[in-house]
């Protein structure tokens, strides 16, 4: 696996993290080394092995279809960067 600066910028764009040319080049060398380590996974035959997404093979619990939480909108919005009339404010997205 060998990354190019464009690969790094593409992934950063997908992750919504601004990255400039200098940072992309810096990160590139580190990613190359990390993926060198990750490539070791290829040496093992995994055919017939079921993927393990969780520490146990469990079925997620279902809960009652009932309101369990009280309304805490004001409390939770008190830590937001910008709020007005009970709404989170972001830059305009529709002209």
């Amino acid at each position: 696996m060998s990354f190019t600066p464009d690969d790094v910028k593409r992934v950063a764009r997908l992750a919504r993290i601004a990255i400039d040319e200098r940072e992309a080049i810096e990160v590139l060398g580190q990613l190359d080394r990390i993926f060198g380590l990750i490539e070791e996974m290829r040496a093992v035959d995994v055919s017939g092995v079921e993927p393990m997404a969780h520490a146990y093979d469990v079925t997620l619990r279902l809960r009652e279809d009932a309101v369990a939480e009280p309304d805490q909108r004001e409390l939770f919005q008190s830590v937001a960067p910008k709020v007005e009339h009970g709404l989170y404010l972001v830059p305009k997205v529709i002209e």
């Binding site: 992750a15 070791e40 993927p51």
Partner: protein, 484 residues
């Protein structure tokens, strides 16, 4: 008094030798005196702590006291605590005052414990040395030029430097056990699902688990009695009856079968670490245990598997930090996308960004099967190795870390070297097993060495018994750094 165990502090409180307010003041004074040196705490709020201590004293006076009532403890800054700044070691949450308590915090509060402050940690728990914190590295009290281990380095140092009698911590790939080993304290990562993850800021949800750090296994059992328990708000919390983790402490170890994986003692393990661990195992034989060689053939894959799965889960969990609902928002932006991108570029540190990029890449179209699914299949093989090993033994033992505390800056430019620091601990998280580190000696530089004890699923009480019996026969856990 600051050197006393949780058990003896609890007895002192019950006997009226000291009040919770006095005890809390004593530890707050120690934090004020030593924190500049170690950087173990990021937030201290004396008034808040003392108010809680007064409540504990009142509860005791009213006859409503349990084993932790009035005991001051430190909380890792990954746990949301109502009214407390909760930063997770990140600029992204540097202004976040939590509106609610994590389940673990709630349970400890109900038990009457007093929060002394929030401890420093690697940013979003990503790190093996505590150098990735927005608030700077936590220094090792045995040598302040050395790292404390990560990511729960602040909690580990709070206990090691006797700034708190016990602390909460979390372990995703070794973040309780590895810092415990590096600063000479005891740390337990319970079976996945035993402690609720509600209100514990998520890093890699299928691996993260809360646990205690303390000076001894006996004290960790007391902490576990309050920290563990079912919580419906965490879908992965296990519905099990409450346990008394102290119940087996006094049991003799005769007949205990210790599994020794040859992979834990392979070339590359420094001689002084190997000697300390082997001496500890010899002590266990004297206590009546027998040893058997076991195999963990896929252990070498645990680091590569972890560095696919943990970043994949992290990239998803950390998508929530967009500057809209809480936390940092960049001051200048033209449109929504620029706001997201600049907020995340400025709010996250280098290690967190690197892991988000790895995670985004391995989950992206065309690479998902080759990396993510393959890693999940290997995870099963790693877990199966442990299940097979436990057919021959009751606990597995080995070193906690392949090195003792290294110098600050020594590995920071090479992430792969840093990632390999957790080679002995990661497999336990992938399998969801409980793991513990207890002090078992010192290297030639005078830095602590940790013995790792791995148990079968839900075998925490047995592991704490194994730790306690060793600590009755040895005094490594009682050694403190100079001046502490």
């Amino acid at each position: 008094m600051h050197r006393e165990s949780l058990k003896s502090l609890s007895e002192a409180l019950a006997g009226g030798k000291i009040s919770s307010v006095e005890l809390t003041q004593l530890f707050l004074k120690r934090i004020a005196g030593f924190n500049a040196r170690y950087n173990a705490f990021v937030t201290v709020d004396e008034e808040r702590s003392l108010a809680q201590a007064r409540e504990a004293d009142n509860a005791r006076a009213a006859g409503r006291a349990g084993p932790l009532t009035g005991i001051p403890i430190a909380q890792k800054d990954i746990f949301c605590a109502k009214g407390w700044l909760t930063t997770c070691g990140s600029k992204m949450l540097s202004n976040f005052v939590s509106p609610y308590d994590a389940h673990v915090v709630e349970r400890l509060n109900e038990a009457g414990a007093v929060t002394l402050g929030k401890t420093n940690m690697d940013e979003f728990a990503m790190g093996s040395s505590n150098e990735s914190s927005f608030y700077g590295p936590v220094r090792n009290p045995w040598n302040v030029d050395c790292v404390s281990g990560g990511s729960s380095g602040g909690s580990a140092v709070a206990v090691a430097a006797r700034l708190a009698p016990a602390a909460t911590a979390t372990d995703t790939g070794g973040s309780i056990r590895q810092p415990a080993a590096m600063v000479g304290v005891s740390g337990l990562k319970p079976t996945y699902g035993v402690c609720s993850r509600y209100g514990m800021i998520a890093f890699a949800s299928s691996l993260d688990q809360a646990g205690p750090m303390a000076k001894s296994a006996e004290d960790m059992a007391l902490m576990m009695n309050s920290m563990a328990g079912f919580d419906a708000r965490d879908s992965t919390s296990l519905e099990r009856p409450l346990e008394d983790y102290s119940r087996d402490l006094a049991k003799p170890l005769a007949g205990l079968r210790i599994g020794l994986p040859k992979e834990f003692f392979a070339a590359g393990l420094p001689a002084d670490i190997a000697q300390s661990v082997e001496a500890a195992i010899a002590d266990y034989r004297k206590l009546g245990a027998t040893t058997v060689e076991v195999a963990l053939p896929n252990m070498k894959l645990s680091v590569p598997v972890y560095y696919v799965l943990a970043p994949a889960e992290a990239s998803s969990n950390l998508a929530r930090y967009d500057g809209v609902r809480y936390g940092y928002r960049t001051p200048e932006y033209r449109d929504l996308e620029e706001m997201y991108e600049k907020t995340r570029a400025e709010g996250f540190g280098a290690e967190v960004k690197r892991r988000i990029l790895i995670g985004t890449y391995v989950l992206s179209h065309g690479y998902y099967d080759a990396y993510y699914i393959r890693a999940q299949k290997l995870r099963r093989l790693i877990a199966q190795d442990f299940v097979k090993a436990f057919e021959q033994c009751d606990v597995i033992m080995g070193p906690t870390s392949p090195s003792t505390a290294f110098r600050i800056g020594e590995k920071s430019s090479d992430p792969v070297q840093m990632y390999l620091s957790d080679i002995y601990t990661i497999g336990v998280n992938l399998a969801g097993l409980p793991g513990m580190s207890i002090p078992c000696g010192f290297d030639t530089q005078g830095l602590p060495v940790g013995l790792q004890v791995i148990g079968s699923y839900f075998d925490e009480a047995r592991m704490l018994n194994v730790g306690h019996q060793y600590q009755l026969a040895t005094d490594w856990h009682l050694r403190a750094p100079a001046g502490v």
